[in-house]
């Protein structure tokens, strides 16, 4: 294969790169979003209800130990190929850090502050919304940050089951033994992970100060 100039290569691939980046962001964003909507209430729930704590943290932990490619393949017979099984798998991976950090954050609120809230006459709901969640928020956001970075990485694999994203380049590059194509998927994915990590880290620090 004759080697194109790098500039020409990038210019030629730019529209597709843009489309695949958006797909990748969509996969990551949607799955992390669903995991936030499920994980935070779950974390609050297991804080209040001690008997559920072990099973829930255990179950979300087990998902983490399943190799991502295996989980994606496992979901195929049930959900077919495409975006749907990818979103399910990514959401499952994103769940653990969010549930665990929500629980840890709430658990870390000082007992003195909780007693003050009770003594002053907060209802349980007011205590949760005005004291516990605001104080736990930096830790919860740290969990969302971890989940996002995990999702960016795993989303590259979901190209194998036809969900699109930057993994498509890697996939094709591997099949054609074309290093540039592999890098065209891998480098932007790595940059995306770093940028999201940085941005959410900033948000986290801002909230911790507040």
């Amino acid at each position: 294969m004759e080697e194109q100039a790098l500039g020409a290569f990038l210019a030629q691939k730019a529209p597709e790169l843009w489309a695949k980046t958006l797909e990748h962001l969509m996969l990551t964003g949607t799955s992390t979003g669903i995991a936030v909507l499920m994980g935070i209430p779950l974390g609050i729930w297991i804080k209040r209800c001690a008997p559920l704590r072990g099973p829930v943290l255990g179950a979300t932990g087990i998902v983490q130990t399943i190799p991502s490619l295996a989980l994606l393949a496992f979901l195929l017979p049930f959900l077919g190929i495409g975006v749907k099984p990818a979103l399910v798998a990514l959401t499952l991976y994103a769940l653990l850090p969010i549930v665990r950090n929500t629980y840890t954050g709430l658990d870390g609120v000082s007992p003195q502050v909780i007693e003050a809230a009770q003594g002053v006459g907060f209802t349980r709901r007011q205590q949760l919304w005005l004291v516990e969640i605001p104080l736990a928020i930096p830790v919860i956001v740290a969990g969302i940050r971890t989940a996002t970075v995990i999702c960016v990485g795993i989303a590259t694999l979901s190209a194998f089951i036809g969900a699109g994203g930057l993994g498509d380049f890697i996939n094709r590059g591997l099949a054609l033994n074309h290093t540039r194509l592999i890098l065209l998927g891998a480098v932007p994915a790595a940059i995306m992970a770093l940028v999201l990590d940085f941005v959410i880290g900033r948000i986290e620090r801002l909230l911790a100060k507040g």
């Binding site: 007693e115 003050a116 009770q118 003594g119 002053v120 006459g121």
Partner: protein, 234 residues
């Protein structure tokens, strides 16, 4: 805790005095149901506390906590007016009340209202704690060793503050301490507790003149003895 029977008159300051672990804080927390009692009754305004909604009960009783107990994520102003917020009062009223209360506890509002609790000294934080307890204009105040962690000078100035608030506001106060001098400074009556039991209750004159048990006698004699011992040593 057993055989504890107390009556607290409106407008008086009752000090629960005793060493650590004698049950004075537990007694205090049973009044606003932070700790539920296993048997017996406590009545506030003639109604047993177990029959009152704990949230309503607590909003009607100011509580000043041992240690600090301010909300670290709220400004001084938000801390002071938090009970009004819980009650859903408008923000303008909350702001005005917070300013009024800060002035009352000698913290100029324009300077302190927007600050965070962590920016304040221990004594200032505890003044904020007192202001917060007064926000809903409760008839009763419970104070759980509020000045225990402060240095002697700061403690003294806060004790004077409580005395003057007492004069001005006519609250019924239950004050827990292990410090005899604090008890003598603030109390209308003192209840001496030991190992979960009430040893003696009376005015300071009564207790000093006629200690009911050896424990009470020892408690009040000890500081005097220590002082004499020091003098001799010097």
């Amino acid at each position: 805790m057993r055989d504890l029977s107390l009556e607290i008159a409106d407008g008086e300051t009752l000090v629960l005095l005793g060493s650590s672990g004698c049950g004075k804080t537990t007694t205090l927390k049973m009044i606003n149901r932070l700790i539920e009692m296993t048997h017996g009754t406590i009545e506030v305004d003639g109604v047993s506390v177990t029959e009152q909604d704990p949230v309503r009960l607590r909003r009607g009783i100011g509580y000043v906590f041992q240690g600090i107990g301010l909300f670290p994520h709220m400004t001084v102003e938000e801390n002071v007016s938090i009970v009004l917020r819980l009650e859903g009062r408008p923000s303008k009223e909350r702001r005005e009340r917070a300013r009024e209360l800060l002035t009352l506890v000698d913290l100029p509002a324009e300077h302190f209202a927007p600050r965070w609790p962590r920016e304040l000294s221990g004594g200032q934080q505890q003044r904020v704690g007192v202001a917060r307890a007064l926000a809903n204009d409760p008839a009763y105040l419970l104070m759980d060793e509020p000045f225990g962690a402060l240095d002697a000078l700061t403690r003294d100035s806060l004790q004077q503050e409580v005395l003057s608030l007492k004069e001005r506001l006519r609250k019924t106060i239950v004050f827990v301490t292990h410090d005899i001098f604090e008890a003598l400074t603030l109390a209308d009556r003192i209840a001496v507790m030991h190992e979960g039991e009430l040893e003696q209750i009376g005015t300071k004159e009564e207790i000093l003149a006629d200690p009911a048990t050896d424990f009470v006698q020892g408690l009040f004699e000890k500081p005097a003895k220590q002082l004499t011992a020091f003098r001799e040593h010097l």
